[in-house]
């Protein structure tokens, strides 16, 4: 890891909060001189091509953010948890033929405490939804959610059933949606690669920092109760709002 004078110190202690940084006069002066958040890659003013050229000569230039995200994105531990037929495709993605281990996500953890990624693979019935939210709450940050298949996205072919949740995004935030009924294992791998891209682009500080760096972003969500006619509440308004109908002149 290398430090260039033009980049602010991205050490773990330094990205705590902007308030603590402002109290230090030296750091406050530094933040006047350079932009507070250097866009990725935060390795000075050299271009990617120059950086790659240096790498071939054995000099690795990187930033804390890049290193941190590189490590996390290549070691995603999914929760071992399947709900319906999509789970069979998820299992197939872990077998030798498709081999999710190529992307570092082969360690399916049986405990939510040790998992980074929840793959909601299959139909979420209303009876199962509180348990899914509870599992999500038990996962430590940073955590990600993939809605795999039509059912987890929207209820799918069971959308008009009385007993099926119309998408897990009504209760927990979803990072990646994988359409399909069920999606092929390749589609799951593609979703995983997209998630890796998303993780690699995450910020460690600033207003657009990742959720687990922000104190105001909730990592737990209220678990719905079993009501007399439906789940109570039927969706979490902080996470999901009904889409507005945008058909000019039609409604």
């Amino acid at each position: 890891m290398s430090e260039t004078p033009s980049s602010p110190s991205p050490l773990p202690g330094a990205f705590s909060r902007d308030a603590s940084r402002a109290t230090d006069p030296g750091l406050a002066a530094a933040s006047n001189r350079v932009p507070a958040h250097v866009p990725f890659p935060a390795a000075g003013n050299i271009s990617d091509a120059e950086r790659e050229d240096l790498r071939r000569h054995g000099i690795l230039l990187t930033s804390m953010e890049e290193l941190y995200n590189w490590g996390r994105s290549n070691s995603i531990w999914p929760l071992q948890f399947g709900l319906a037929c999509c789970a069979i495709e998820m299992i197939a993605a872990a077998t030798a033929r498709f081999d999710i281990a190529r992307f570092g996500a082969e360690i399916f953890r049986p405990s939510p405490r040790q998992a980074d990624l929840m793959i909601v693979s299959g139909t979420v019935t209303k009876k199962m939804a509180p348990q899914v939210v509870r599992l999500w709450n038990q996962m430590p940050e940073p955590k990600y959610c993939i809605a795999m298949g039509a059912c987890a996205i929207s209820g799918g072919p069971f959308k008009q059933g009385y007993n099926v949740l119309k998408g897990i995004d009504r209760f927990i935030p979803v990072d990646i949606y994988i359409p399909g009924c069920p999606p092929r294992p390749e589609a799951l791998l593609n979703g995983l690669i997209e998630l890796q891209k998303k993780i690699q682009a995450e910020k460690m500080s600033g207003p657009d920092a990742a959720r687990h760096f922000r104190a105001d972003a909730p990592s737990e969500h209220p678990i719905p109760d079993f009501g007399e006619h439906d789940l109570d509440p039927p969706h979490n308004p902080a996470v999901w709002q009904a889409p507005a109908i945008t058909r000019p002149g039609k409604v």
């Binding site: 007993n163 109760d225 079993f226 007399e228 006619h229 409604v251």
Partner: protein, 228 residues
């Protein structure tokens, strides 16, 4: 195997107080069924299972049928003689009667020992609201256990004598019976960006009509779906 009519005759001879009627199936399958009164249901089931000529030892399927209250309009022509001697005046009189609703439990019985079947028996509840108790046939055929729980869950028939009558699919706090024809499902599936037909009609009840001065593509205020 005996026909359903022959079985009914034998049952009536064995249980003189029972009311057993034959419901014919007009389709090509001609799978007629026996409508058994609830009071004798358990005894008749035991007879069907233990009778040496039938030995219906296996209940493959138990299910429910909901028949809501029906309003039947009957038209009758009444001719009133004309006192002046002219032609009789014919008027139509409409009478309305309500056929009470009921819920049925239907059992399909086979014999593993004699390799015949099915024999279909049905039982009806008195109404659909407060008198919905039928005798459980789980003590007779063990395979009715989960299926009667499912009928209890989705149709609301209470099976007296069932060893473990709980909801099996929906949660315990759930109050409705979703397979009943008058079930009103929670209004939560109409959220589509481009609704049409009946989905559009349902969506309109949730979205305020756009004001005439508002731009046409202004998003309407989302409202929470009302609980039924």
């Amino acid at each position: 195997m005996e026909t359903a009519g022959q079985i009914r005759d034998r049952l009536l001879a064995r249980f003189p107080g029972a009311t057993i009627s034959l419901l014919t199936n007009p389709g090509p399958a001609a799978e007629h069924s026996l409508l058994v009164d609830a009071a004798h249901g358990r005894a008749i089931a035991l007879f069907l299972r233990d009778d040496p000529a039938l030995q219906l030892d296996y209940c493959s399927n138990a299910t429910g049928v909901d028949s809501p209250e029906k309003e039947i309009v009957e038209t009758k022509k009444v001719s009133t003689p004309d006192p002046a001697g002219g032609p009789a005046k014919i008027t139509e009189e409409k009478t309305t009667r309500t056929e009470p609703g009921y819920i049925e439990a239907v059992y399909h019985l086979y014999s593993m020992a004699l390799r015949h079947g099915p024999v279909v028996i049905r039982m009806r509840t008195a109404n659909r609201s407060d008198q919905v108790t039928l005798p459980s046939l789980t003590p007779v055929w063990r395979s009715c256990d989960f299926q009667e729980r499912e009928i209890f869950d989705l149709y609301g028939i209470v099976f007296a004598g069932h060893p473990d009558l709980r909801r099996i699919l929906m949660w315990d706090e759930f109050k409705d019976h979703p397979m009943r024809k008058d079930y009103v499902e929670p209004d939560d599936y109409e959220w589509e960006p481009t609704p049409h037909n009946e989905v559009l009609d349902r969506a309109k009840t949730h979205f305020a009509a756009p004001a005439a001065s508002a731009p046409a593509n202004a998003p309407a205020a989302p409202s929470t779906p009302a609980a039924p």
